[in-house]
């Protein structure tokens, strides 16, 4: 995980520096410790001063070909060698190759009597001899303050220490002097007065039962340097100062779109997914299927043939695989083929920065295209807000620089949780923020999903209800009720209500039809009646008319007969003769 040093400022003559080869430290010091000058490393017990010194020497030998001398006031060469064997440093071999020389300075106050004047020329001679014997360029004095226990003449000791630092400068060796942290001063014996070129402070504090280590460059004469406190770790590969991957925003961006693993969710984004290499935050209250969504994303990445690294801080890999199978997400084939790697650990197992180092290391080894951290909020419980923020900044930066598409889930508690996350600055770090939440109605809970933000892409503003089925996550169609979007049982009752309304309307139509028919029939009956009545009237009238007509004819005939005279032959026979 070696990084290139930060780009140099304009071509001004720069202080010559001796790179330490220690992860991250060269970035903070912008190139290493001041070459040919002494550097003071101070810190309390157990913060890794000696290790820093040894690593400075060993890496100097292995990476930069500079031989080194270790003048140890506390531990013997054998003890030191045993202590660092686990880091893969073979001090014995380096000594045999004449690249390293360890001189153990033993001071036994009990068997020592002081009388009259003396000086520490013997120490100078020893150190000078050791340096010259192997042509050393680097020297570590660990811990020089032990001298104060051995000699009573403090004034003389201080004068000699001052002379020693001057002498080291004259020798042109890059020296690291370790010193114990004092109550109110950087070092117990005030050595910082004598070493004025570079002072590095190591700090080891326990917050909430978790040890966190911090490194700070207190001063660096003649050079700019990172001024913050940087977390550091002692890992199985040695000292690691964390990790100043990018202090700038200059990562490359991709125009490719990757799927979220849920088709319905993809459709909510203007371009059908999110950009490759971006970071997505998935927040939600407990039981809102965050992990399911995260696994769906991981699975989609694997199906595209990408490598995916999944950090599970809540479930063991076996449990995760089993649980996800129940919703139709089968991880096992991808784990078997090596595309998917599940890493599970308890967040409280170690400090934040150890997690970060683990994440970095695994990403460095596995080179995934997609990373899921589930959930990131468990890490939040490990540190304070500012620590978490700085860690997340570094993590997200690191992922972006490496073009890794990342999904973080976070457990939040109600709407307050969103505010907390915003305060921690997580929201401003991520590119896409999806919120899943409980939509609690009367007697039921439904899951709703919405997109809070999505950089560089149009996105739906709806709260979409989704269900976790045996075939994975499915987004349901939007149902709009009189008071907005409805979900769950509301969705059902809305549907029933709509059906009832439709039925009622149909019934109304049918009823109207029937009424019309009835009316028509009534009218028709009336018409028939009238017609019948009319016919009887007509008939009656016609009969009256006929009689009248017959009478008329009879009268006419009679009158004709009278007019013609007496009829021959007999009495008159009215109307029987044709007229």
């Amino acid at each position: 995980m070696r990084k290139k040093p930060l780009a140099a400022a304009p071509a001004l003559p720069r202080l010559p520096k001796a790179p330490t080869g220690i992860d991250g430290l060269d970035e903070i010091t912008e190139g290493g410790l001041p070459r040919g000058r002494p550097t003071l490393v101070c810190g309390s017990a157990g913060c890794g001063k000696t290790l820093l010194g040894i690593e400075f020497l060993v890496r100097g030998i292995q990476q930069f070909g500079e031989a080194g001398v270790l003048l140890s006031f506390e531990e013997t060469a054998a003890e030191l060698a045993a202590n660092v064997t686990s880091l893969g440093f073979d001090l014995g071999a380096l000594q045999a190759n004449k690249q390293l020389r360890i001189d153990h300075v033993h001071i036994d106050r009990a068997a020592l009597e002081e009388t009259g004047e003396y000086d520490l020329e013997g120490l100078f001679i020893r150190l000078g001899y050791a340096i010259d014997a192997i042509g050393a360029k680097r020297v570590v004095l660990d811990t020089l303050e032990a001298l104060f226990a051995g000699f009573t003449n403090q004034a003389l000791l201080r004068a000699e220490i001052r002379r020693l630092f001057g002498w080291l400068k004259d020798k042109g060796v890059t020296a690291v002097i370790t010193a114990e942290r004092g109550e109110h001063t950087l070092t117990r014996q005030g050595l910082e007065e004598y070493v004025s070129d570079c002072v590095i402070l190591l700090d080891n504090r326990v917050i909430d039962q978790i040890t966190t280590r911090r490194l700070r460059v207190v001063k660096y004469r003649g050079s700019t340097h990172g001024t913050n406190e940087y977390p550091y770790l002692i890992t199985e590969e040695g000292f690691s100062v964390l990790p100043v991957t990018s202090l700038r925003l200059e990562h490359e961006v991709s125009d490719n779109i990757v799927s979220s693993g849920v088709p319905g969710l993809d459709a909510m984004f203007g371009r059908g997914g999110w950009f490759q290499g971006t970071s997505t935050l998935l927040t939600g209250t407990a039981g809102t299927a965050k992990t399911t969504l995260a696994v769906a994303f991981a699975l989609a990445a694997c199906q595209r043939g990408e490598r995916c690294l999944y950090f599970a801080f809540e479930e063991s890999p076996a449990q995760l695989v089993r649980n996800m199978r129940s919703v139709g997400l089968d991880l096992a084939p991808y784990i078997a083929s090596g595309l998917l790697r599940l890493e599970a650990s308890r967040p409280t197992l170690s400090g934040l920065e150890r997690h970060l180092v683990v994440v970095h290391k695994l990403i460095g080894q596995f080179r995934p295209q997609a990373v899921v951290i589930d959930p990131i909020s468990n890490l939040v419980s490990v540190g304070s807000a500012s620590e978490v923020r700085s860690m997340l900044t570094r993590l997200i930066d690191y992922l972006k620089v490496h073009g890794v598409t990342a999904l973080f889930t976070a457990l939040v508690s109600g709407s307050r949780g969103l505010v907390e996350l915003a305060e921690e600055g997580v929201s401003s770090l991520v590119d896409t923020w999806i919120s899943v939440r409980d939509l609690e109605g009367i007697g039921e809970r439904n899951r709703g999903l919405s997109i809070l933000k999505s950089r560089g892409m149009a996105h739906s503003n709806q709260v979409r209800e989704f269900v976790v089925t045996a075939r994975g996550v499915e987004l349901l169609d939007v149902v709009i009720g009189p008071l907005g979007i409805v979900t769950g049982a509301g969705r059902l009752s809305q549907r029933l209500q709509e059906q009832a309304v439709a039925r009622a309307a149909q019934f109304e139509v049918d009823r109207n039809d029937r009424e019309l028919e009835r009316k028509r029939r009534v009218l028709e009956a009336t018409i028939n009646n009238l017609r019948t009545e009319f016919e009887s009237v007509e008939e009656e009238l016609r009969r009256v008319n006929d009689q009248a007509q017959a009478r008329q004819q009879a009268q006419d005939r009679d009158r004709g007969t009278l007019a013609a005279g007496r009829p021959s032959g007999g009495p008159s026979a009215p109307s029987e003769t044709p007229a």
């Binding site: 001071i107 068997a111 009597e113 009388t115 020329e121 013997g122």
Partner: protein, 111 residues
């Protein structure tokens, strides 16, 4: 906690009282301090250990590799190798009483 040098010498029998003292004086060049130390030491030896001592003067400027073996930091340093345990006195040895205490020698007058 003593160093390896003691391990080597541990095999030697402890000299009986009045036996030989084996002394080494480490100096760094002919500085006034080392000259004074050597003169003082010779005087005490003649006075208190006449004929019962051997003295070796080591100039670290000429033999820097010897500084490590006897854990020399300060100069001048007087080391009593024998009898065991090893004792050291640092400085120009100007205070006779302290030198004798440091070497664990009782002055003649006190006997």
């Amino acid at each position: 906690m003593m160093t390896d040098t003691r391990e080597v010498l541990a095999g030697n029998a402890l000299p009986a009282p009045g036996e030989t003292f084996e002394l080494r004086l480490y100096v760094a060049g002919q500085t006034p301090k080392s000259v004074a130390a050597l003169a003082n030491l010779r005087r005490y030896c003649e006075q208190h250990m006449e004929g019962r001592y051997s003295l070796e003067v080591i100039d670290l400027l000429q033999h820097p590799q010897l500084a490590e073996g006897d854990q020399i930091l300060a100069v001048p340093t007087l080391v009593r190798k024998v009898p065991e345990p090893m004792r050291r006195v640092i400085g120009d040895l100007s205070n006779e009483e302290r030198v004798l205490v440091g070497l664990d020698i009782r002055p003649r007058g006190a006997r």
